[in-house]
């Protein structure tokens, strides 16, 4: 008889086809996976199930109607969600600064003068120092000509250009002065205010304008004004050119937002202030014991954040019952945020906290899915077995495993763990935070516009295309190619996906992306794997677990299993990526378990 195991996950639906022989043995014939349709646990899941079954059966030359039994999992009734909130913000009103890295500024040094628009040169006062502001309508020859012509009468000490023509202008000047170019929002530059401009010596970064006292020296500020402009200096660190304007009414603030407190309603509950950072929050969560609910202080950022999470989870749940958040994972992060009042798209790194939360819902309506499936396919469908137990059974088919065995199932929404002892006792747990939180943190820290790009960065290794014939991988290895690489990739950081190269649009160095990606994965998965295993371990002692098998989508990752292996080696635990049935890798554990459990 033919029998199918179906595992409906948050992101993928997996199918495994087995045959029960006359000697009552299980022979595995085929397995497939396809993206889950709709939210896990809803009727719309049946579309994905049907197409996966069809594919798996056609692989062995059979039809879905040849199946005798379909077994679907009793999905874990947890839903996860993520949110992010910045805790500080920098506001610069009246456009007080420009600081950016145009690829080709010209000249070097610093200069102070009054901003003079190029169309107003005839009205300038002789002898007074001026910074010339030029919009892109003026071609470089004309600009150079004007500056050379008035050089004797009017003292031009620096130039701000809208077009990318700094070198072209400078090459035609008789007297060399610093020039900053590619300043996009020229129209916001007010004429008549005092400006300080600096271009760094090649190979260095600016020194005066990234130093509060440097700005104070150039713009003649008093102690109070110097204190106010400190955030400007901070956000100019590392730039090759910058402009700071002294606007009389201008004001700079670095606000610390009222972050608020998290209230834990638990066995050993309490309040934690978000300002204390993720470490303190997690400490409180770990000490709390059984958590009944978690909420944020009303009227604060964290309060709104929890409200949003609750709102979106209620939608998924589709019931009117009170949603209780039973676990959170908080992670400290830095987010580059566009500064209010910037002229060339400047950003400032703000402190932020990312939170993944998890709610226990009512039992998901798996029975309804089973009925619908039975109707559509005319094959007997049963809901069989709890997800964690099925996953453990499947994981046991990994060569080299034995009881007692722990599994860590790293999915998209939650990190789950289960422990089976020799006499069949099973302990399970679900922890908030997994793949989706990693994607969100990568997106935030790198300031990516698109979540999809963050997801790809999470999944694939990087390379830099150094010429049209070779690229340098993130591990330093160099690969040469026979045919020239598409010029669109030249000089770019790319992702090595199975469908070829994918270009990263944002101009971020490869090392920085690698560092952020690895840090984020460690912050989420190592923390969570330990948290989850501690909960299922006898007496909460990690050392009592001899074997850990990693399963689920995130176990397929190219570096997460290694990170966990290194971490667990410290606790003398054998830990590795599962290889279900010796052939499937970490996928298909639950579907395999569902087929296997039929025999019992």
């Amino acid at each position: 008889m033919y029998i199918a195991g179906v595992d409906i996950g948050n992101s993928t639906t997996e199918v495994c086809i087995g045959q029960i022989t006359l000697e009552n043995k299980v022979v595995f014939l085929s397995s497939t996976s396809c993206p889950t349709t709709g939210t896990k646990g809803t009727i719309s899941n049946t579309h994905a199930i049907k197409s996966a079954l069809k594919e798996a059966m056609s692989n062995i030359g059979k039809d879905v109607s040849d199946l005798d039994l379909i077994r679907i999992n009793e999905a874990a009734p947890v839903i996860g969600d993520t949110a992010m909130e910045t805790l500080t913000e920098t506001i610069i009103t009246d456009s007080s600064m420009i600081g950016h890295n145009p690829s080709t500024p010209a000249g070097f040094g610093q200069a102070v003068g009054e901003v003079l628009l190029i169309q107003d040169v005839s009205r300038a006062t002789p002898g007074k120092p001026y910074i010339l502001a030029v919009s892109k309508e003026f071609p470089y020859e004309a600009v150079a000509q004007i500056i050379n012509r008035i050089a004797g009468a009017i003292n031009i000490v620096g130039v701000i250009l809208q077009a990318d023509e700094a070198v072209l202008v400078e090459n035609r000047l008789q007297k060399k002065i610093p020039i900053v170019d590619e300043v996009a929002r020229m129209a916001k530059l007010p004429a008549g205010v005092t400006a300080a401009i600096e271009v760094a010596v090649p190979g260095q970064t600016i020194r005066m304008l990234s130093n509060p006292y440097g700005i104070a020296t150039l713009l003649k500020l008093n102690a109070e004004e110097t204190r106010i402009i400190t955030p400007i200096a901070k956000s100019l660190i590392g730039k090759r050119s910058a402009v700071v304007l002294k606007t009389p009414g201008g004001n700079v603030q670095e606000n610390v937002l009222p972050a608020g407190e998290i209230h834990l309603k638990a066995e050993y509950g309490g309040n934690v202030n978000i300002d204390d950072g993720a470490e303190k929050i997690m400490e409180a969560v770990n000490k709390a014991g059984t958590i009944h609910d978690i909420y944020g202080q009303e009227g604060t950022n964290i309060g709104n954040m929890f409200k949003n999470i609750r709102g979106s989870m209620k939608e998924v749940d589709g019931t009117d019952t009170q949603v209780h958040i039973t676990d959170i994972l908080a992670v400290d992060t830095m987010a580059p945020v566009l500064i209010a009042g910037a002229l060339a798209g400047e950003t400032c790194l703000e402190k932020a906290v990312g939170v993944a939360a998890m709610v226990k819902t009512q039992q998901l309506p798996m029975q309804k899915i089973a009925q619908k499936l039975e109707q559509d396919l005319n094959v007997k469908v049963v809901v069989a077995g709890v997800e964690a137990i099925m996953a453990s059974l499947g994981a046991l088919t990994t060569p080299g495993t034995k009881l007692p065995l722990a599994i860590v199932d790293m999915g998209g929404g939650s990190t789950d763990a289960a422990l089976i002892t020799e006499n069949g006792d099973i302990a399970t747990t679900h922890k908030a935070g997994a793949g989706e939180l990693v994607s969100m943190l990568i997106q935030t820290e790198l300031g990516l516009r698109d979540r999809h790009v963050a997801e790809q960065i999470k999944k694939y290794p990087l390379a830099k295309v150094e010429s049209l014939f070779h690229m340098r991988m993130e591990n330093g290895q160099i690969t040469f190619v026979e045919d020239s690489i598409d010029p669109r990739f030249f000089g770019r950081v790319v992702l090595l996906t199975e469908n070829g190269l994918v270009r990263i649009e944002e101009d971020i160095p490869m090392d920085k992306i690698v560092q952020v990606r690895r840090e984020v994965k460690q912050k989420v998965f190592i923390t969570n794997a330990i948290r989850a295993l501690q909960e299922v371990a006898p007496q909460h002692n990690l050392k009592a677990i001899p074997n850990v098998v990693l399963v689920g989508g995130s176990a397929e990752d190219f570096e997460i299993p290694e990170m966990l292996m290194e971490e667990f080696a410290k606790h003398m635990i054998v830990c590795g990526r599962g290889n279900i049935r010796g052939s499937e890798g970490p996928r298909n554990a639950v579907a395999t378990g569902l087929v296997l459990s039929y025999r019992k």
């Binding site: 690829s103 080709t104 470089y140 990318d164 023509e165 700094a166 070198v167 072209l168 090459n171 150094e466 010429s467 049209l468 014939f469 020239s484 010029p487 669109r488 030249f490 000089g491 770019r492 101009d507």
Partner: protein
Amino acid sequence: MIVSRPSIYIYVNHPDGDTLREVHSGIEEEGVFYEVIERGEDNVNRLAYDAANDSMLGSGIGILGNTVAFQIRGVEYGKNVEQYENPTKNQSRIIGANSARAIKKQSFK
């Protein structure tokens, strides 16, 4: 001893004035040297291919009338890295800048 400056070669045949001007402005803004050389060749692929192979830097541009092509040494003949018929000023500027950025190992604009 005759020493030539390492420069990008621009091989031209009756080039459009604006196109040529924008192309070398693009190279100059990136801070690389260039040389403009007149050739009696009516194939833009050949102009660009030869320019790239003759240039010490391995980067060349061919301009035939109002067609401009950018080529890098080692890339197959006829498979130009970038090419425009009747380019706008901005496109000419960018193709010039890219021929220089190729040498500097910076991403194209």
